[in-house]
């Protein structure tokens, strides 16, 4: 067993884990944060995307012990209490999902996209940046619209916060 300590959604967590525990398994089974989904388990589909130290990663292809000392953000950590994160709200508004299985990973990837590239994202950029997230319902059209809207809302929210 190996001891890991990390911050998950703002809370410090320490646990003894078998070193082969994947980060995705750790957040789902040890922390009961089941919003992070495992689709393909081969780092192709992106359902398991979380942020580690502010960067989107595929939690099925990282060991929990590799995240020792890191800040981890999962889909559960995005909303501010009952108030959805602007990207979540945009996915609801545009119905950027069909079955919803890929949605947590799509949203975490979309937030990472805005963090890296800013909020003025054209359709081609969004589609290209989503290449590591697969929607088996093929509902990409509304996902792309949701990311576009969510990206804009993220800056507006940020600007409003800064003004307050």
């Amino acid at each position: 067993m190996a001891s890991v300590t990390m911050t998950v959604n703002g809370k410090s967590v320490t646990a003894d884990v078998d070193p082969r525990t994947l980060l995705a398994q750790f957040v789902r089974e040890h922390l009961r944060l089941t919003g992070t989904h495992v689709g393909c388990d081969t780092s192709q589909c992106g359902a398991c995307v979380v942020h580690v130290d502010g960067k989107a990663v595929k939690a099925c292809t990282m060991l929990a012990v590799q995240a020792d000392g890191c800040e981890v953000l999962t889909i559960e950590g995005l909303a501010n209490g009952a108030e959805l994160h602007p990207m979540q709200a945009a996915f609801r508004e545009h119905h950027g999902l069909q079955c919803g299985y890929c949605t947590p990973g799509m949203i975490m990837t979309a937030v990472d996209m805005v963090n890296r590239l800013g909020s003025d994202l054209d359709e081609a950029t969004i589609r290209h940046e989503l290449e590591g997230n697969i929607c088996r319902c093929t509902g990409y059209h509304n996902i792309v619209r949701a990311v576009e809207t969510g990206a804009k809302a993220m800056t507006e929210g940020g600007a409003r916060q800064a003004a307050e």
Partner: protein, 267 residues
Amino acid sequence: MHAFEYHRPSNVRQAAALLQKNEDAKIVAGGHTLLPTMKQRLAAPSALVDLGAMGELRGIEKKGRAVVIGAMSTHADVATSDVVAEAIPGLAKLAELIGDPAVRHRGTIGGSIANNDPAADYPAACIGLGATIITNKRKIVAEEFFTGMFDTALDEGEIITKVSFPIPAKAAYAKFRNPASRYALAGVFVSKRGSDIRVAVTGAGSDGVFRWSEAEEALAKRFAPKSLDGMSPPASGMNTDIHADAEYRAHLVGVMARRAVAAATGR
């Protein structure tokens, strides 16, 4: 995945000592090849030595006429580095074509080179730019480093610390990606540095990365896409698998080489 011991040393010396002590231990860098391989039980190391805690292995700097990249630099680090973008934009572009954004946040240049997957991108850049691979023990020139499919000149317990890329006058990479895996079905890195002209091919050769000398000779006369008109390497040396047969790969190498030269010369 089979059970293993996990070690996270804080410097290269400790890592080397751990590797020496555990015969079946493997180094894990970003883990984006090793962990999937372990899940499939194609690899079952007794221990993992994680290089993730070593800041000394990360970082990109211009040193004289070369760009030196720390082995634990991620593909995203290389793709977004101002130093790389200015000195060898073709290398930044190559890093940007690996996997997807989340994969690029974890996968590392050292891991890619040490694994020498026949469809990986970095081996083409190393040979295509005449890079030197620097380890905890020695310096190895790229042509001597890649010794065949999934095989390198690395000894047991030897750790890549840096890769030094000489800055070329012109260079570019063109890749035909497998649409599912994003690995190269054929990827060609071309460069020109004085009279040193290189055409390195990945993804296509049945024994991994190779230099396409006929194309280099043609480009030595004139470094332009037209010089390669109608050329492709012999299909006999190409790989055949479910994704593409040898003839198709040979054809793609010609097309990618012309595209790379066009990109390198701004045509």
